[in-house]
Every structure is written in C-alpha cells, then in structure tokens.
Amino acid sequence: MKVAIRKSILENMLINTQSYLEKKDLSQITAHLFMSAENDNFILKASDYEMGLQYTTHEVKIVNEGMATANGKKFLDVIKGLREDDIILETINDYLYIKQNSSKFKLPMFNPTEFPKFPTIDEKSKLQINSTYLVKSLKKIANTIDTNNPKYELNGALIDIKEKNINLVATDTRRLAIVKMENEIEDTFSIIIPKKAINEIQKLFFDTIEMFYDQFTLIAKSKNFIFYTKLINGKFPDYERIIPKNINFRLLLSRDKMLASLKQIAIISNEIKITFKTNNIVFESLNSDNTEAKTEIEFKTGLDEEIVLALNARYILDFLSNVDEENFTLAYNDSGLPFILENNEFITIVMPITL
C-alpha cells in the first residue's frame, strides 16, 4: 500500500477512531487501526470486537492499493507532530512508513487480514426512525444507564418499538428515564444498545444516516462512516410496571430556579431534602458530618399541605440538564414512593431516599 493524504484529513479520521481501540493489551490486533486503499478510497477501521467504526475518504492519492495496520495511539501521535501538508503512508516488509519531507517514521504492523471483520448490512432490517431525533433522545437518557451492573441488560438503553409508539428506556435501578417517540415502524421489537455505543454514536451523528439491525447487531451508516455495535442480549426489566398510574399532585416548577438551588446544596451533599410549602420551596442537605446547607426559593405551589422529598440531587440535575424549556413538572404521590419528573415526552421516575 502506498498513499498520500493530507494531514488534517488523516488526523481527523484518527481522532474519531481512538475510543474504539484496545488500550491495555497492546499485543492485541485491536490496539491497531486497520487501513486499506482501494478504488480511490482510503478506509480506516477500529474495533474492540464489541463495536467498531469504519471511516472512508476519497481525498487521497493512491499509488499502490493494499492494506496495513498500525498502533492507533502511536499513529495519531506521529501524525499530530507533522506539518499541515501531504503525508505518505507506505508499507514495506510488514512495516508502515510515515513520511513527510525529510521526516520518516517506521511502525510495526500486524497481519491486516487478521483484523476483525465488520458485520455486513445484508439481511438486516432497516430501522425506520428519524435518526437525528433518535440520537438526540438517546442522549437524554444516556446518563441514567447503569455501569458495571452484573445484570448486563441494565448497562444499555432499551429501544422498545411498540404498535403505537417507541419508548427509549434506561435505568440504574434507582431511577428510570423514558423518552416516548411516535412510531413510524410497523413491526414491533426491542433492542438494548450498550452505554458505550450510545456515547460514541453521539459523536458521529452530524449527517443523515441509515440504521440497520438484527438480533445481535446495530449498524449505522452514512456517506463517510459505518458504525456498528453488538447489542446486549437480555431481558430488560418490565419498566411499564414501574411508572405510577395515578398521581396525587403535579407541580409545575421553574427549571432555572430549581437548578440554582439544587447546585448550591449539592456542594455540601448529594442527599437533599426538599420541602414544598404553600409559598416557598426549602432545600436542605442531608448529611451527618455536622455540615449543613439550606436555601429556599419563593414559589406559589398552591399546596395545602407540605410535601417532603428526600432524594439524590444528582438525579434531578441529570434530568434538568436534558431539559431545554423553562418549566418542568414534578408529579408526586406520597413520601417514600417513587416520584416523576416530566418534560413533554421525556420523563424520569426517581426513587426517593429512604431514611
């Protein structure tokens, strides 16, 4: 393989593929990036077996077609150190040479044919969802996804496609976030996408994409890239059971005012007690080390009796960070019972703190 490519183009491709690399065991081929030059295309691939990204560019001069691999991190470091100009990539005797003017680097390669194969789109169904909206909605529930839960299915977000609507669901067992979307799809099914894949998808979606899926894999494709992730095989908890059916009180609250007060108290403690009184809302820290924080805002709640909520402030802050509008709703039944934060189609059900 021998190609010439502009530094800025190559660097951009390399930066986008870094998070897919194996970083601990450098003897693995997945610590390397795969590249190939054929039919006027220069392709870069990275994969950790669980998910992968393929980047394609036409802006390349191909002298010889062929394949190569190189340690992804080192490759990027080398390219960063070069000037904005054409860079020559050439394979000679199982080594990748990187050249620019009088500078020359030599990196060892693995056998490129051993690089993990990417899944193909053949026979996979197309996901008929507005992808931009899907990705935006996934972002709202992303911080509610659990990490390292021995129940694997909780380490991902559920896309539950039902007859009338689509629910995107995530839970870390203390709270449950749902975004409801309208359904444009006919068949009903559900898939669980790993958290890491959701974080990576957020970085990629800047142009129109198509999505394909089967039982095991989800593929997202655009003009320049193909992204794939393996899906989590498991049974997501029956989340609809958790959504309270009846609500006793609903309070329409100001996002900014709540946010400011919560942040103040959270400096001292994440565990917070909020008392909704008739004319004001009082925020207090709940901790045992003799420090205290207290603030209040004036707010006509219209309540006859006080409502007291003990909760983890982070859960409301996470919710509010995904609310763009001025107001949101807090729906409440009784202390000790789960309460709901609502903003249009986005809701989070939170388990209060037990004292």
């Binding site: 067992t173 203390r174 449950l176 388990m351 037990t354 004292l355």
Partner: protein
C-alpha cells in the same frame, strides 16, 4: 469520670445465683450445639427486648432438670459412643487455676480438672439476668451503655464528684452483689478505654479509680495486644517495629496515622485522650444469627436449616425495624474448610427476598459438595437510616413494598403468638 463495669466470670456467676452450692468450686459453662432451633418438635423461642447491641433478641427455652443440674451436661455433651464434645465458654476462678480457658474443649478441661463441675449454657437465663442488671444500673447511673452481655460503660460526670468516685463505685459494687448476688469489677477513668483496660487488672471483684495524672503510668506497661482495638494485623505491624507495650506505641503516632481516621482514634484511645462518649443507645449496625450442629451431609437438610435461620433473622430484623442492605453468609465444613460471601443489595428488606437470597447464597457458597457442613452463619448490616441514607431499587420496589407489608403482618402475629407460629412448609421436610 467514666466507669467500666465488668461482671466476673458472668455465666458461671449467673448460674451460681440460682445454684448457690456451686460457689467455691471449679465450674465451667459449656456451649453445645443448639438442639432446639432445627428440631421438628414444637419450639419455644422467646423474644427478648432489645436490651443491648450484643444481646440477641431471640433465645430458646431450655428444659434442664434443675434437681439434677450437675448431671444435665452429660445428656448434652456425651454422645452415644461415649465421646465428649462441647467448648468451655466461661470458667470460674477456681477452674482457671487448672489452666482452663475460654475455648478449651470440654474433653481437655475434664482431664485438667477431673472434679470439674460442668453446666450446659442457658443463654435465655443469662440474657434475662443481664437485662435486669441493666435496668438497675440505669437507676443508679445517669448515662449507661451496655457494651456486651456482661460489660457496661457509665458516665457519672456532674453526678458524682471526682473525689467521691471511689466511694461511689465501691458502694455500687456492694449493692450489685447484695441485690443480684453477682460479683462485678468496676474501674473509673476519664477515658472509656483506659477504664476498660483497668477492670482486667483488678479482677476478680476489684474497684479502682485512675486519676488523670496516673493514666500514662498505668497504661505504659500494658502489652499492645491487650488493648481493645488493636487487632492482630496492627499488632503484627507494631511488633515488626519492636513495639511491645503501650509506652512504645505512644512514641509512634505516625504508624497509627497511616491507618487513617481509625488509626488516629486508636492512638487517642491509647493516650487516654479519646474523649469518646458513653452512648446510652447506640445505633444498631447490624445483626446476625449462627449455629453449630453435628456435621451433616444431606443438602436438603442444610437448605432447611438455612431457611429456618433466615426466618428467625428476618423476624428479628423486622422487630427491630431495620433496613439492612449488606448480607453475609458463611458455612463451615468439616476439616476446617469454610466458605463465605458478603453481598450488598439496595432493596427494601423483606422476608421473602431474604429467604430467597440466602438459598441462592448457599448454592453459590457450597463449593465442596462432598464435605459435611457443621456451621451456618447469616448476618445483615449496612442499615439504611438517617446516618446512612440510600435510594433503594426502583425496579423491585412495588414487589418489595408489598412483601414488606406482608412481613409486618407476619411480625404482628409472631409477636403475639410466638415466632414459630407461622413457619414454611419446607421446614417440615424430613418428617412427612
């Protein structure tokens, strides 16, 4: 001044209160396996008030023949083949002279002292007596903390002046002997832990006041391993630096500081500067239940026993209104092999959840299927409360809340009619 009150050879003294003829004889109290808890016959579990952090809430009524108490132990500890089992858990000072210690197997103890008097333990009696003593002490001391079944801390600051302390404790000691027939040793000092150290040096039946100026001189010669709070790990580390006594230890605050907050607190205790308070009602950190029994191969029976222990523990937890989230289980096999695991699950505690969890843990822990099991322990800690707030699992909340309500109902019935009023069908296994 703070007091430490430590009953002298408590279990033996307790037995002597009802069998005075045991006085001045070498006596040991021996613990055998619990014959009641796993029996298929009707049990008489007795629920005790929550009288202190170390006292279990549930004990079983024994039916020893009080007229022939000296021979009762033979039924308990001599097997059909004539072999003797059981472990000494308390000894009188007369028995101590024969080098019998707590933990000595009964068989050895009988070799050491052939005319030894042996009694089977009766924890229900000891608990009840200890509770009566506690009530009495509460009427005499403004702040009282029960530290274990036979130890109490008291704070008499503002009640008795420093000068009158010795007179007060001597009087108290006499009163306890007169009223309860129980010998007790009492030490007073400004530090709880130094007072506790002091009672060990004055036993049996001693009284001592350590003035502030005497603290250093008193603690200096004490061996580090005798200090409460210095465990084996710290002891080994200190000894590797050639530190043998508290005097040596006082010179090396840096070693203690390396253990963080616990280490610094321990160092303050050694200096007698801990200022730790007497805590009349300490927050219960956790609760457990464990039983030894003749080694068993049959796994179905082991499952049944785990279920029974889980039911008892769960009842106790419900009664104390605790919400534990960390659970521990340990099984011991023959040949000294053991297997244990601790797991934290943030769910609302209920009996249904707990009995299932313990069965799962048993399956996981039982790694030597060919070995016999002779010991099971369960404990529950990390309780959710004001000082340990937690959000519990939302996924199981509906189910758990329902089961917790059911457990409250069960507890009501068991409180009224006895803990064994409602049992599991599976507990009948083996008799049908």
């Amino acid at each position: 001044m703070k007091l430490h009150m430590d009953l002298d050879c408590y279990f033996v003294s307790a037995e002597r209160t009802r069998y005075p003829f045991l006085k001045n004889h070498p006596v040991v109290v021996v613990k055998g396996s619990d014959k009641h808890i796993f029996a298929h016959t009707k049990k008489e579990g007795v629920i005790l008030g929550d009288s202190g952090a170390f006292n279990s809430v549930l004990e079983f009524r024994n039916h020893y023949d009080t007229g022939d108490i000296l021979n009762e132990w033979k039924k308990e500890f001599i097997d059909a083949d004539g072999s003797i089992h059981g472990i000494v858990i308390a000894k009188s000072y007369e028995a101590k002279r024969f080098k019998i210690k707590t933990g000595t197997p009964l068989k050895e103890a009988l070799y050491m002292c052939p005319h030894l008097i042996v009694l089977p333990s009766d924890h229900l009696f000891y608990q009840t007596l200890s509770y009566k003593l506690k009530l009495f002490l509460e009427s005499k001391i403004p702040l009282l903390e029960q530290y274990s079944i036979d130890e109490f801390f008291g704070d008499i600051k503002g009640w008795i002046s420093k000068e009158d302390t010795l007179e007060f404790i001597v009087h108290l000691q006499n009163e306890i002997l007169e009223k309860f027939d129980l010998p007790i040793s009492i030490a007073a000092c400004k530090s709880k832990w130094v007072a506790k150290l002091a009672t060990d040096t004055i036993k049996p039946y001693g009284c001592k006041v350590i003035e502030d100026t005497q603290i250093q001189a008193f603690t200096n010669p004490i061996k580090i391993e005798d200090f409460p709070g210095i465990g084996r790990a710290i002891e080994r580390r200190l000894k590797s630096y050639g530190i043998e006594t508290l005097e040596d230890a006082k010179r090396v605050p840096a070693i203690f500081a390396s253990y963080g907050k616990t280490g610094r607190e321990l160092y303050a205790r050694i200096q007698g500067e801990d200022c730790e308070l007497v805590l009349p009602s300490r927050v219960r950190k956790g609760i457990g239940i464990s039983r030894n029994f003749a080694a068993l191969q049959e796994r179905g029976e082991i499952q049944r026993r785990v279920l029974i222990l889980a039911r008892y523990l769960s009842f106790t937890i419900a009664r104390l209104d605790l919400k534990p989230t960390t659970f521990y289980m340990k099984i011991r096999y023959q040949y000294g092999v053991k297997s244990a695991k601790s797991i934290t699950i943030d769910r609302l505690f209920n009996e249904s959840f707990f009995t299932k969890l313990t069965q799962e843990l048993l399956r996981e822990l039982d790694i030597h299927r060919g070995y016999k099991i002779h010991f099971i322990a369960l404990s529950a800690t990390n309780c959710v409360d004001r000082y340990n707030p937690k959000s519990l699992s939302i996924l199981d909340f509906t189910k758990d809340a329902k089961n917790a309500k059911l457990m409250q109902g069960l507890t009501k019935i068991r409180n009224k009619y006895g803990v064994d009023m409602i049992t599991y069908g599976k507990e009948m296994a083996g008799i049908l």
